[in-house]
Subunit: 129 residues, 2 copies
DNA sequence: CGGAATCCTATCGGATACTG
DNA sequence: CAGTATCCGATAGGATTCCG
């Protein structure tokens, strides 16, 4: 037995590494990192569209007709800052852009699937799991 | 082939049911339901503590020394409203309370595990998955 | 001990109008 | 087409103080 002041016996499934044993919402806690990635209104819907493949700014607005240009721009900026989305400007006129998920962005897929599954369970529409 | 105006070919893994085929952040979309359950600063930490077993109000504050009474109260109220947590007042003086997860609350465990895993991947501390 | 009541600031997100 | 700029109302959440 070590000489630690053990207040907690950490559940190894829930908190498998030291990064999660925080007393506050630390930005580098894995749970916070993942939550930050999908945080904000419309974010998961933008990700859902991009999971289908590359989209232009206008195509994203077609898929999500009620999102404002401001919020969409904001979400895309944040996703790019986090390395989840890439922007490519296509040459020519009028200007065309192409937003694609990065490998890190595609890594969010299992989380989105799990969010859907858990939400279904909570709502009582349990799929079958 | 049906006579639908199919704009999307929905990914059956990502959007397995009609409830997820929304053009806006609908509150009854399963993803929104799950996000709502863990939304808000401190919420996942409160859930982490309760996953260990029942806690009193003060015990929760001991585990999370920096949370204010106001925010903790608020989180517990919201979690109770959503049917994820139950409160029991113990008789005697001074007053004692006991917060426990409901079955629905315990159903959040796989989501928390997945959040941790995804966050670890994004941060580059990939566990092994 | 276990909260409720106030107050106050920061950020979020929607609407609208304008630009390269 | 693909954004930017500005304004503005609504919450979120932290600090502090008080109550049963």
């Amino acid at each position: 037995m070590a000489h630690q002041t053990e207040t907690h016996a950490w559940d190894p499934e829930l908190v498998p590494s030291a990064a999660g044993r925080t007393a506050r919402p630390e930005p580098d806690c894995p749970v916070e990192v993942a939550l930050a990635a999908v945080a904000g209104r419309w974010t998961t819907l933008v990700l859902r569209e991009l999971m289908r493949g590359p989209h232009s700014f206008g195509e994203l607005r077609e898929g999500l007709p009620q999102i404002s240009a401001k919020v969409l721009t904001e979400r895309l900026h944040t996703l790019r800052e986090r390395g989840l989305v890439e922007q490519h400007r296509l040459p020519g006129f009028p200007v065309r852009t192409r937003y694609t998920l990065t490998p890190a962005g595609r890594a969010l897929r299992p989380l989105l699937v799990e969010l859907y599954r858990t939400g279904s369970v909570l709502a009582g529409h349990e799929p079958r799991a």
